[in-house]
Symmetry: C2
Subunit: 452 residues, 2 copies
């Protein structure tokens, strides 16, 4: 029986198995779910053994364990490492769920449950692809290693350390991650870029305590006014960031990618409606998708000063604070950007206040050229699974662990997502398309053949 036929015949059983995993509330952020995260890890390990992986271990970390499963019977063939996570976001607010978050329910071809698409469903379709090969052929065309962690939703605090400590066992030729979304229903997508991040806090201090704005207003430099002036100077009139050197390392968009982006089924009005703003905006000279994917940006994430309650309080605040983050693109370096931002903001500080700048969080941008044997194999496999040539896309956000895999394992990373826009990851009523779950498993099964 061909592999595809096996997957087709087992569709109902596959969903029933996934539902067992979805019923385990493996919320990594909450200590009361510690037994549940452990149970989810054990469930995955048991399934890995059942389908025929040869070495399966649940390896403890300082936090939740990592499940490692290996099949290395294809001597001389490449090795593919599949990374994913079995932990889920907290389900709250509960009363906004149409069906309970840990009782998987199908409506309209969508499997509703916390973790369905992020990331249990996307992990399990890889297991099913392996199972289909092993049950029908008794072997896989390539070597496969699963590395499924339990702390992705809390920032993967122990994963980099784990990768370093287990680098020999994790040795591979490519890393595959299915934790992203397709650009549109029916349109398979390979994510080739992620933006980096430099997240800063700016603190302006004026007088030593809050003052009465009547008694002192006019003779004391107001830190909230000063902060507003600083922030206003971080963009020019064309929406470009004015931090010196900010664009020095920014790679221009390749003509090929510009054409690819322009050819995607995207309507500006649909995005505008989705965000509910009166109009979209951004850096002059770029389309919305270019602004989101290939251009760096600077956003105020938070502002706080003085009196913010109801009504009027005539306070001249002692201090004002802003959180400001910059999304970065290749080849910007977040450490360089942090330094440039700090120096520039300090240079904008008026007399009469002191300004402190602190870097809170940072990560490098990531880009993988859409070429090479693994990319080509993925492209062909997705075309088989979905009956349509895949597109290459980027994401505006950051997935810091991608760089950690590249840097520690020295292998290329391929991001193939089977989520869909509007899938409510991290929100109530999360769902995964069952069609994507099944087609995804078929595409991954085909990928093993393509990689041989």
């Amino acid at each position: 029986m061909p592999v595809t036929e096996y997957l087709h015949q087992n569709r109902e059983k596959s969903v029933a198995e996934l539902n067992e995993l979805l019923r385990i509330p493996s919320v990594s952020a909450k200590s009361e779910h510690r037994a549940d995260t452990a149970a989810a890890a054990e469930w995955l390990a048991t399934r890995m053994r059942d389908i025929g992986l040869t070495t399966v271990d649940v390896i403890p970390t300082a936090g939740h364990p990592v499940v490692l499963g290996e099949w290395r019977g294809a001597a001389g063939a490449p090795t593919l490492l599949v990374y994913g996570h079995y932990d889920v976001q907290p389900p709250e607010p509960l009363d906004e769920w149409k069906s309970p978050p840990f009782e998987p329910t199908v409506r309209d071809g969508k499997l509703f449950a916390r973790g369905s698409v992020d990331d249990k469903g996307q992990v399990y379709l890889h297991l099913k692809a392996v199972e289909a090969h092993l049950k029908t052929n008794g072997s896989l065309p390539v070597n496969v290693v699963f590395c499924i962690e339990g702390e992705e939703e809390v920032g993967s605090p122990h994963l980099a350390e784990f990768l370093t400590a287990n680098a020999a066992r994790l040795k591979c030729d490519a890393v595959m991650i299915s934790d992203t979304t397709m650009f549109a229903p029916g349109l398979p997508s390979i994510t080739i870029g992620l933006r980096g991040l430099a997240y800063m806090e700016v603190r302006v201090q004026g007088p030593s305590t809050d003052l009465h704005s009547g008694a002192y207003g006019g003779a004391v430099v107001n830190p909230a006014n000063a902060l507003a002036r600083i922030l206003a100077q971080l963009h020019d009139a064309h929406g470009r960031v004015t931090v010196p050197g900010f664009y020095d390392r920014v790679q221009p968009i390749a003509d090929q990618e510009k054409r690819t982006i322009a050819g995607l089924p995207f309507q500006e009005e649909t995005l505008r409606e989705e965000v509910g703003a009166p109009k979209l905006g951004g850096e002059a000279g770029y389309s919305p998708l270019e602004r989101l994917w290939v251009r760096p940006t600077l956003d105020v994430n938070g502002l706080l000063s003085g009196y913010t309650g109801e009504g009027a309080k005539t306070v001249l605040p002692a201090k004002a604070m802003a959180k400001v983050s910059m999304r970065l693109v290749p080849d910007q370096d977040y450490k360089e950007i942090e330094r440039a931002f700090t120096g520039y903001v300090q240079s904008l500080a008026p007399e009469g206040v002191t300004v402190e700048v602190e870097a809170l969080h940072g990560g490098q941008p990531w880009y993988a050229a859409p070429s090479g044997p693994v990319f080509e194999a993925a492209r062909r496999a997705l075309a088989k699974g979905f009956g349509r040539e895949p597109v290459t896309i980027r994401e505006g956000g950051s997935i810091p662990i991608v760089k950690a895999f590249e840097d520690t394992l020295h292998a290329p990373v391929v991001l193939i997502g089977f989520g869909l826009p509007g899938e409510n990851a991290h929100a109530p009523n999360e769902w995964m398309s069952l069609d994507n779950f099944h087609r995804g498993a078929e595409a991954i099964a085909a990928l093993y053949d393509e990689l041989r």
Copy 2:
């Protein structure tokens, strides 16, 4: 026995009486002190009867009562209305008081108690001045009406209505208020100006909900960035307010007042140390006291947007809010300024966000030319009481009730304060200088003679 001699001999007794009043915790803001505010009103009424006022009433309002006391035996002589308040600020935080707030304690010539200077001590010295005249001469050289309210510390919500309803009974030739401070110890001061206020809230709305700054940053106009740009455009590089027409009605400083201000014992460095800022600032071309007293200003009083907790959260905020207040000087009109501000801020709103502006609170500036018979009488009386020519000063803050008296009773208002800098009104360890209490009573007793 001369009036001054009577006051001198009764100094200890006067303080003992004032202490009785200070022991009553007449906190108007707290309903559990309702009986106390009533008791303070009754105590005052009893004292007024004791010293010989002919008509004394405790008149209920929708809030705390007003104590009215009259002596109108000086046919043909002018009538002086004394306004003050018997309610006090809450004493909290209690643990910062060196002696309990409602147990009056003398240290170093200062009478420490909540309400000592604001305003019970300043009210009671007027009663002592009247008593001195009535006990020594059996009569007053002028007619006197006391109007002492119990809601000043909660914004005098019922006083304007009370003045209108009782205008006939309150008819007078001048209103005297002792609820301000002298410029320096030993330097009697007449306050001739107060700034007005236009207090606004600016609300900027971008997307309909908070967005992920990675997924959407760069293509959506950020309301916090937009707010910063709006606020930054409210001043020019010289610290002048850019709201169109803002300065149209501002009266230039008279040469005489400029000289008066320049002659006051003021050190810029002392003010800088007091506020604890690295440097003072403000509108170019004016001294600190000019900036505080005779120039209008614009201050951000509060800022709020997005994530303001610890650490990093990559939110693109749906909205951003600022509270902005302008201190006004004669002849600015707060209603005009509210309209000009609203129109200007709306004109600064970039595409991609909507901006709402709301006026929260307003009051007119006030100025009384330092001339006329009442001012001259006060000047001579203060010189007698303190042995030194008084100075004319202004305050940067607002006392809205001053305009209400002028407008309702059509009489000039004279502000003679006996407080001192650092007296901690509204703060723990409030005190009044006993020397000012006694000299103040003597000055007011002399004022009655001067007004005859």
